[in-house]
């Protein structure tokens, strides 16, 4: 008990020391010079204009087509019209939590609360669940396709489906270093596959050596950061994105970036993140990434931050930017994403599509003079 109190006190002291430069709350006045960050005009889709449900868990850009995984079906936006896939069409369950595109074949994989679907040629052609296949659990939080393998993050471990042989492999605490088996996200590349493990850090699979490794919060603390930039920010990992040999990690207590040698952590107090509660991260490359938080969408360009959200107080569109020195500025905008609670993002050229708790948002890139 005494030890816990000591840690708590130490945490409060460290937090007080570190706090001032960045603030989670939006700045009250512009502070020049403000970095040039991308501007968007947001067009929002809701049930009013054809979206199956306003609670959008996931979004996927597939060329000119947009897939939206919602709480009540899988929406496909094509040629300015929405089509909805439901359980009557073979959807494993109506709540679609995750989406992935097989860029080689054009097939789409949808993870639901009741199994995994494969969509090809405009139809749902396969359903995998824990009863009819080797899938470890019906709740599919994440899916990623790499080569002939589909990697799946479920509520009861990680899985791999070999598409050539139709054979499943299950990875849990019995055969990998993970201590918990809640896999919340997955990002697969030819060299490595990363799983976001809720409560057990970042799980890495090396495709060459076929060995597993785990990255955990070095202090294992839920409420303080004792070792900044010395490891993963927190063990409760919600999402992962691996691009250009750099892994970006979202947790419920901040974000991390790891390039294979150095860790860099991001918290509201020392970055432009609007919240430490991060649902989803998607990297553009080794230096640029997007973060979906409960208080808006954040973009990081390697030095500066931009946040896009409807105001948490009055719902009015807001954008603010901050630079590496912590100087922040409001940017006047007239549109914002549909909701501040962000759950997913994907890119369509310079445009972005965002899954939110209040609809699907299309951020149309607007060049600035």
């Amino acid at each position: 008990m005494g030890g816990m109190l000591n840690k708590l006190c130490l945490g409060m002291v460290l937090a007080a020391i570190a706090a001032p430069a960045f603030a989670a709350a939006p700045p009250s006045a512009p502070l020049p010079p403000s970095p040039r960050m991308p501007h968007y005009r947001f067009v929002n889709y809701t049930t009013a204009n054809g979206l199956p449900n306003n609670h959008v868990y996931s979004v996927l850009v597939d060329g000119s087509r947009i897939w939206a995984g919602t709480d009540d079906g899988l929406g496909l936006y094509e040629n300015a019209r929405w089509r909805t896939f439901t359980t009557r069409d073979g959807l494993a369950q109506q709540a679609v939590l995750s989406l992935a595109l097989d860029k080689r074949t054009g097939d789409v994989w949808a993870g639901t609360m009741g199994g995994l679907n494969r969509i090809s040629g405009g139809r749902i052609i396969a359903t995998y669940n824990q009863l009819n296949s080797g899938l470890s659990n019906d709740i599919v939080y994440g899916v990623s396709v790499e080569g002939k393998n589909v990697w799946v993050a479920t509520a009861a471990g990680a899985c791999r489906l070999n598409l050539d042989t139709n054979q499943w492999s299950i990875y849990t605490d019995t055969n990998t270093p993970m201590k918990e088996i809640w896999a919340y996200g997955v990002s697969a590349a030819p060299d490595k596959v990363y799983f976001a493990i809720w409560g057990s850090g970042l799980l890495e699979y090396n495709q060459q050596t076929r060995l597993w490794d785990i990255y955990e919060d070095p202090d294992h603390q839920t409420d303080i950061v004792l070792f900044k930039d010395q490891g993963l920010i927190h063990d409760i990992v919600s999402s992962v994105s691996y691009v250009e040999k750099t892994v970006w990690v979202a947790t419920y207590f901040g974000a991390s970036r790891y390039d294979g040698r150095y860790w860099h952590n991001f918290l509201t107090k020392d970055s432009g993140l609007p919240s430490n509660f991060i649902n989803y991260v998607k990297a553009v490359d080794a230096n640029h990434a997007w973060f979906c938080t409960d208080k808006g969408l954040a973009y990081y360009d390697g030095a500066n931050w931009a946040v896009y959200t409807p105001s948490l107080t009055n719902g009015k569109p807001e954008m603010w930017v901050s630079n590496a020195q912590g100087h922040a500025a409001h940017i006047p905008v007239t549109t914002a994403p549909a909701n501040n609670y962000m759950l997913g993002i994907d890119f369509q050229g310079r445009d972005i599509w965002i899954a939110t708790a209040g609809g699907l948002s299309h951020g149309i890139f607007e060049p600035q003079p």
């Binding site: 054009g106 040629g121 052609i125 009863l131 296949s133 080797g134 470890s136 050539d164």
Partner: protein
């Protein structure tokens, strides 16, 4: 004539084959119209004369050569397209099923279904220039018009592999229907249409459903899946020269109707589906059958270059149906509602039923549209049809394939085989034991064994024994496998004892037969039982039944694709084998003998031949006792259990084994069950 290619069969066979070809060239080339000339050759010492079994035909672009794909001999025969004189024989892989000639005529790709390879033949040198790896059981091959990608339809892995057309390296695989088999490139080069021979998985008790998988060659992606409702086996597709109309040959089963239902077509209807802009981008299914005679197992489809006629080969009926295509389109456009059950419809578009050889398969139309050549698989002939008159004007007999007797054809079973002499007395009660008592036992020479097997094969593939000539063994056992469906044979009453269909390969020594175990041997199963409940017409004569049984007994298991090449097991498969062989459960409790996997599924075939109640009796079953199923290539044979209620291997234990009657499995973790299934797939 040289026999060339990988794994050449020795210099002696080269010389023999050369001699055979010379003889064949003299004897086979048929200037006689409407007659068949057989090669008058005899086996030399130590060899047997096997069968070529032509399945597909192609003309060279300049029209000078005819390429004949021979399935049983594993060859491509090259003939002069005018005189039909043999030019060359090229040895390819095992059980070649499809081939494709590049538009410049320089490369011929052959899909070797049992080797999982593609033979690349240089047609200028008439040699196999390369052999590429493909997926599981490649069955046809198509190159896109740009010459960039080679598409390979893989029957077992249910996909189309996309290979680099220059190097053969695999780029990706596109998911297609179950039993992906045949492909057609549209004349405009924009689309590849793909069919599959088993129905796609469907909910229990629903009608089968298939699809035409449409690949866009520009993106090399599947862009559409055209539904084929109620279709359970689709074969070749032909597309008109303007690419506006496609036609697919297919089987339309009525598996959940009682076999006594003959109105609007019997257990199988033989149909075509039209698709494309020529039918307003809808699908229209039309019957091939007549009211009292069927065009069984439509396989090959060919359209004349001017689009005036469509030809369909029917393997079970030994005919080619000639259809006036404009008449068919006009008829389709004037009809409202389904056409497919109107067996009088053919009067509006069928021009002729042209008798050809046994089990006609692939066809080729000459560039001028005046000749249609038909590969008659089971009598080693090619019928040449004069299209203006719809008459067979010439029949080309292919030379036999000489094999050294030392080669293992799986014929050892004949060493103790008995065969009945033709014309002997039949037992009125059709008791097979009576047949055996009356049978004259005789020892067969190797050549007689080969010939008996061929007769059995012909009996297996013909529909001539059934009511109205409506179906044959292979209607349900596609290419000697299964059809992935459940059937209602109603011996115990309509809607009762519905059973799923089994793989026929490697079933020798798996007696008794039928899920109920009612048939003590294969002649009983294939004879009186089949005659009573399926053919409902004439019976097999004694010799035919013996030949048929011998043929089925001779069927080897196709190569298992889940085993490692060196025969070893992967770590997961090893763990699965330990579970299969275990004697103690995960909690340390001994598993009763009868509740261990390897007790009932014992021996190399995985069956103890006993009837066991594993708790799967359904409300429509008279008994819960079913014969232990053999495990041979079990990965291929979904659905599972006697009634096909388990859609996958997993469901056998996750859904249908709640009380551990089908082995002690409820203690297993999910990854242990995966290991067990990964092992079972190697059986």
């Amino acid at each position: 004539m040289n026999r060339i290619g990988p794994g050449g069969r020795g210099t002696s066979s080269h010389r023999i084959a050369t001699l055979a070809a010379l003889i064949a060239a003299l004897l086979i080339v048929a200037p006689w119209r409407g007659q068949t000339v057989h090669a008058a050759t005899a086996p030399q010492t130590g060899e047997v004369l096997g069968y070529a079994s032509p399945v597909e035909l192609l003309f060279s672009p300049d029209g000078t050569r005819l390429y004949v794909l021979c399935q049983d001999s594993g060859e491509v025969r090259v003939l002069n397209a005018t005189t039909y004189a043999p030019i060359q024989t090229i040895v390819v892989g095992h059980v070649p099923r499809g081939f494709f000639l590049t538009p410049d005529g320089n490369r011929l790709f052959v899909a070797n279904s049992w080797d999982d390879t593609i033979s690349v033949i240089d047609t200028r040198a008439l040699k196999v220039a390369a052999t590429w790896h493909a997926g599981m059981e490649p069955s046809s091959v198509v190159e896109d018009s740009a010459g960039k990608y080679l598409y390979v339809a893989n029957r077992i892995s249910n996909d189309v592999a996309v290979l680099d057309a220059h190097t053969g390296s695999e780029v990706k695989r596109l998911a297609a229907g179950r039993g992906t088999s045949y492909m057609t490139l549209s004349p405009d080069g924009q689309r590849i249409y793909v069919t599959h021979v088993y129905p796609n998985p469907a909910p229990l008790g629903s009608q089968p459903e298939s699809e035409i998988t449409v690949i866009d060659t520009a993106s090399a992606e599947v862009i559409n899946r055209i539904p084929l409702p109620s279709i359970a086996g689709a074969f070749h597709i032909a597309v008109t020269s303007n690419s506006r109309l496609g036609v697919v040959a297919e089987l339309h089963p009525k598996n959940l109707l009682p076999m006594t239902q003959v109105e609007q077509g019997w257990a199988f209807e033989d149909t075509l589906t039209l698709f494309g802009s020529g039918v307003q981008n809808k699908t229209v299914e039309v019957p091939l059958d007549d009211l009292d005679s069927y065009a069984v197992r439509p396989f090959g489809v060919a359209i004349t270059p001017d689009g005036s006629h469509l030809y369909v080969s029917s393997g079970g009926s030994d005919i080619v149906t000639a259809i006036n295509l404009p008449h068919l389109q006009r008829y389709v456009h004037t009809q409202h509602g389904p056409i497919v059950y109107n067996l009088a419809a053919g009067a509006h578009y069928v021009v002729a039923r042209i008798p050809v050889g046994k089990d006609p398969r692939g066809m080729a139309v000459s560039a001028d549209g005046r000749r249609l050549l038909v590969a008659n698989r089971l009598d080693d002939t090619i019928s040449v049809i004069d299209t203006p008159t719809s008459k067979v004007v010439t029949t080309i007999a292919l030379a036999p394939s000489r094999r050294l007797w030392t080669e293992n054809f799986g014929l050892q079973m004949f060493s103790e085989m008995t065969i009945a002499t033709p014309g002997q007395r039949r037992c009125p009660a059709c008791h097979i034991d009576e047949r055996h008592r009356n049978a004259k036992r005789m020892k067969l020479t190797p050549q007689q064994q080969v010939e008996a097997l061929r007769r059995g094969q012909q009996a297996f593939y013909t529909a001539s024994y059934s009511f109205h000539g409506g179906m044959g063994c292979t209607n349900c056992h596609i290419d000697t496998t299964m059809d992935g469906m459940r059937w209602n044979f109603e011996p115990a009453g309509l809607g009762r004892n519905i059973v799923e269909n089994m793989l026929l390969e490697d079933i020798r020594n798996t007696t008794p037969y039928d899920w109920s175990g009612i048939n003590p041997n294969l002649p009983t199963q294939g004879g009186p039982r089949t005659e009573q409940f399926i053919w409902r017409s004439q019976n097999f004569d004694v010799r035919t039944l013996a030949d048929l049984s011998a043929y089925i007994n001779s069927l080897p298991a196709r190569p298992n694709r889940w085993r490692l090449p060196n025969g070893e097991l992967t770590p997961s498969q090893q763990r699965g084998k330990q579970i299969f062989d275990r004697t103690v459960d995960d909690f340390g409790k001994p598993i009763p003998l009868a509740n261990r996997c390897n007790f009932c599924h014992s021996g190399p075939l995985g069956t103890d031949h006993r009837k066991v109640d594993v708790g799967t009796r359904g409300p429509n079953d008279d008994s819960g006792l079913f014969v232990t199923a053999q495990l041979t290539n079990i990965a291929l044979t979904a659905p599972y259990l006697h009634d096909g209620s388990a859609a996958t291997l997993e469901e056998i234990w996750t859904i249908y084994n709640p009380h551990d009657q089908h082995g002690r499995t409820n203690d297993l973790t999910k990854d242990q069950l995966n290991d067990l299934i990964n092992y079972l797939r190697t059986r």
